[in-house]
């Protein structure tokens, strides 16, 4: 067997194993921790968004952006959030319209929504046509979602996932429609647009931690603690490695791929 692993790959492998090990360690020992989580306004506002839409008798629009496919963790994190929002919407009898650019995401979302409505005993409220495959083209998708927002005048607009150039077009249209907007993305460029155009913005990793906040599963909450531990490790390295380099110790060459 020819194992073609370079030194750089070995270092990367060590980091992946360390990160995975920390996440698994905290997840396995999840029952031992009772921690208070810092409140994220954007996640707290989900309840308000669903309540507002219900009171106004308007639907909600949820889209995951044009930039990601089903393999992207951001899309998975957004779909995890969709599950919680759909459960709340189903409990209140509120409609969710889900436009997307990707047919695989459309089918996954259809299944999530169908199950969420069924679990709340409102299978009759689920409409197959509310999951709309709009277009794989970026601005075709933007035009389609804009049209849906303008016509349906939603009570809440969720822009959660990977967004590119269409981010501001969607957020400004949502703003003009008067919808309560909750956005979240891992794209640092589009974050600035969301912050000015939306009511609440989940910045970067806040989107990944959303399911931990909304779920009662201790294992999911514990994985957040793992993320914090790894971040602390990164912070220590960011402080130690430059000082070591100034002292002539090239530790960064050993530790970084």
């Amino acid at each position: 067997m020819n194992l073609n692993v370079s030194q750089s790959m070995l270092i990367l492998l060590c980091w992946v194993l360390l990160s995975s090990g920390v996440v698994i360690f905290f997840t396995v020992r999840s029952s031992r921790w009772q921690r208070q989580l810092r409140l994220i306004p954007g996640l707290k506002a989900i309840e308000e968004a669903v309540g507002r839409s219900t009171e106004l008798g308007k639907p909600m629009v949820f889209t995951t952006g044009w930039g990601g496919d089903i393999q992207r963790p951001t899309t998975l994190a957004a779909l995890n959030l969709l599950k919680f929002i759909a459960a709340k919407a189903a409990a209140y009898g509120t409609r969710i319209i889900f436009p997307t650019h990707d047919p695989v995401i459309a089918e996954t979302a259809r299944e999530i929504l169908k199950v969420a409505y069924a679990e709340q005993g409102h299978s009759d409220l689920f409409r197959d046509s509310d999951v709309v495959f709009v277009s794989p083209s970026q601005f075709g998708y933007a035009a389609g979602v804009d049209g849906i927002v303008a016509r349906s005048q939603p009570g809440a607009l969720f822009l959660l996932g990977t967004f590119e150039g269409e981010a501001l077009i969607l957020a400004e249209t949502g703003n003009m429609s008067g919808a309560l907007q909750i956005a979240g993305t891992d794209s640092t460029i589009q974050l600035a647009f969301f912050i000015v155009a939306c009511d609440y913005t989940l910045i970067g990793e806040e989107l990944y931690t959303a399911s931990a906040y909304l779920s009662d599963d201790k294992r999911i909450k514990a994985s957040m603690l793992a993320q914090d531990t790894l971040r602390l490790l990164m912070l220590i390295l960011l402080l130690v490695l430059p000082v070591a380099a100034l002292l002539g110790l090239n530790w960064h060459r050993i530790l970084l791929p």
Partner: protein, 203 residues
């Protein structure tokens, strides 16, 4: 039982995809290529389902004569035209398919993109309203970067483009990298939650 099987498949597939990135053998390459081929097949099938669902959605709007049905009619006509044009005369340079792409779709996309300029202006107006001390700092930084990166920057002072560059390369980059580190760690945790079957909302 079905959920357990799906979770087991997700676990094995996730583990394999992570391992094949580091272990390059003929076997792992073959399995990796096969998985990608299967993904393409799944994508093609869901694309077909998506296309059918799109036509059904708009056909229903036309049938019940809902407001704005003309747009649905144009959408359905457009989808059918592109499929027929590609099937009859291919997608070559002089084909009707390519003509429709270059003369209809591309200008429409450019029109949507150009809307961004107006949206940036309205968003910037809201974002830069000075209502607090942080908003003042934000507006001041934005003015320095905007002016410093334009031709006016040099005309006002030699130091202004330098200052704009410093803002861009230091505080802005530091914030971006901080977010990206968080995103990277979040991705690992999310991927592991899916692989280990803790997070199953996709099922």
């Amino acid at each position: 039982m079905t959920a357990r099987i799906a979770a087991a498949v997700a676990f094995l597939a996730g583990l394999f995809m992570a391992a094949q990135y580091f272990v390059k053998t003929d076997f792992t390459n073959l399995v990796y290529r096969s998985i990608l081929d299967y993904y393409q097949i799944i994508f093609a099938v869901t694309m077909l389902i998506g296309g059918v669902s799109l036509i059904k959605h708009h056909s229903a709007r036309i049938t019940i004569r809902r407001e704005g049905m003309i747009y649905s009619a144009i959408t359905v006509a457009g989808v059918i035209f592109m499929i027929v044009a590609a099937a009859v005369s291919g997608t070559g340079v002089d084909s009707p398919y390519q003509w429709a792409f270059n003369n209809l779709q591309a200008p429409m996309q450019a029109t949507m993109f150009s809307l961004l300029a107006f949206f940036v202006a309205s968003a910037a107006y809201r974002g830069f309203r000075i209502r607090s001390r942080p908003a003042f700092v934000l507006a001041l930084t934005a003015i320095i970067v905007l002016v410093g990166r334009s031709a006016f920057g040099d005309m006002i002072s030699d130091r202004l483009p330098e200052l704009a560059g410093w803002v861009f390369n230091n505080p802005s980059s530091a914030a971006k990298r901080g977010i990206l580190i968080g995103v990277g760690l979040g991705s690992v945790a999310t991927a592991l939650r899916v692989i280990l079957g803790i997070e199953r909302s996709y099922m």
